[in-house]
Assembly symmetry: C2
């Protein structure tokens, strides 16, 4: 039975996709079977794994509209045991199309419950908003991971995210947990990074992962080659950090 995790933060550009892709790849390399679901109409996780969103015939949109549809939308990646349910721009329409549907918050969950037995982990990349897609992601999950860029605006948005989390926990998914907060794009030369880190550790204590993802040029380059960092440059600090993160994650979820 898979553990299902959403990578969330409504603040844009804080490393959600980079973490979803590279944590998934690192878990697969560590021998786990992983499904990455790209729930962002921007489809960055899809492109970052070398899949052309324009040529896609089936995307996650099909399963949001019909959770019982045949599973041929799930595609392999270049890493063994690592599968992707890709996205494309048709997902943009879902938020409006589902406004009237009573089960609009449960569409993704209906799909993930169906495939949960086939994987060790299901990781969901969400868009930069607290709308219906992110809601679907949190409702479908056992826990959330918050990626937090070490910057002022990113810290600012944390309380809104926590409020949304509490509301979902009370009404839609009582068993959801916070698996942790991951600090991303940490720049050791920059005071602001250190101040944000100290502030977050003060408020959230042990929820904050010990593994910190440094700002690393190779992480920004790897999606342009359609590869996770471990295939693009396994010797880089970025790749090493995501391997460390996968190890810490496995010990925290007890697998």
């Amino acid at each position: 039975m898979a553990v299902i995790i959403s990578i969330v933060n409504q603040k844009g550009g804080v490393g959600k996709t980079t973490t979803a892709v590279n944590l998934s790849a690192s878990l697969a390399v560590a021998g786990r079977k992983v499904l990455l679901i790209d729930l962002d109409p921007q489809a960055n996780a899809t492109t970052g794994l070398g899949v052309s969103k324009k040529e896609l015939k089936i995307s996650v949109y099909r399963y949001i509209m019909d959770p019982e549809a045949p599973l041929d939308g799930i595609i392999p990646t270049m890493i063994d045991r690592f599968f992707l349910l890709p996205s494309n721009s048709e997902l943009v329409g879902a938020e409006v199309e589902l406004v009237e549907a009573d089960d609009r918050a449960f569409r993704l969950r209906n799909f993930t419950e169906r495939v949960r037995k086939d994987y060790d982990f299901i990781i969901i990349d969400s868009p930069p908003s607290l709308g219906l897609l992110t809601l679907n992601s949190i409702v479908a999950s056992d826990g959330i991971i918050i990626t937090l860029q070490c910057e002022f605006y990113a810290l600012e948005g944390l309380s809104a995210l926590m409020n949304t989390f509490e509301r979902v926990k009370e009404s839609l998914n009582p068993s959801i947990k916070i698996f942790g907060i991951i600090l991303t794009m940490y720049d050791i030369r920059n005071n602001l990074s250190r101040q944000v880190m100290e502030e977050v550790k003060k408020h959230f204590g042990s929820l904050v992962y010990n593994t910190v993802i440094p700002r690393n040029v190779r992480l920004g380059e790897s999606p342009s080659f359609g590869k996770p960092i471990i295939l693009y440059d396994a010797t880089s600090k970025g790749s090493q950090a995501y391997i460390d993160l996968a190890r810490e994650f496995l010990s925290k979820v007890g697998k």
Copy 2:
């Protein structure tokens, strides 16, 4: 009569708010009367100018729901001639509340047309999505400015943004123009930055501003002090870049 501009890009974290705040401040310092509208429920432009979103009694939400409401929601900033229409989290509800309204794409425009005569420039900061709020922003504007982080994923999203722009131009706002593309967080040490810049200049030519905003730590620090960069550190490369940008902008729009 004000020139009205939206700062847009559905990709998150690409410098929309930083550009909206610092271009507005630099135009005000150059003697223009400017209204900055924060149309993002995250309210980063509001916080970045030292305004407490929790204590706000009136936000832009009031004018989206009632464009004829009294104008006491517009507040002065610490810079002469620079005014703010702040945001807070009540704006989150607008997208769903307006789904049935026939004029849902024109709400902000009804407000900006009312106040256009009072300013030289109205600048609108939009959220990281192509939803109803960003649609309102584009429909209310004479032109859009696209902030583009010099990274692969940011470049990737440009075609989706251009499609949305064309659709709005055809059906909702035929006179809308693209005022330009501004490259942000340019890192001179990083090949990827240079490659993205060359790619963008190849496709968009003179639409790309000559002024490039460098990655600059002081720009990331200034919002935590509630100040635009020109007040936080006028000697920084970040501040100088936004002053140059304001000058280039004024010459491009002929004011």
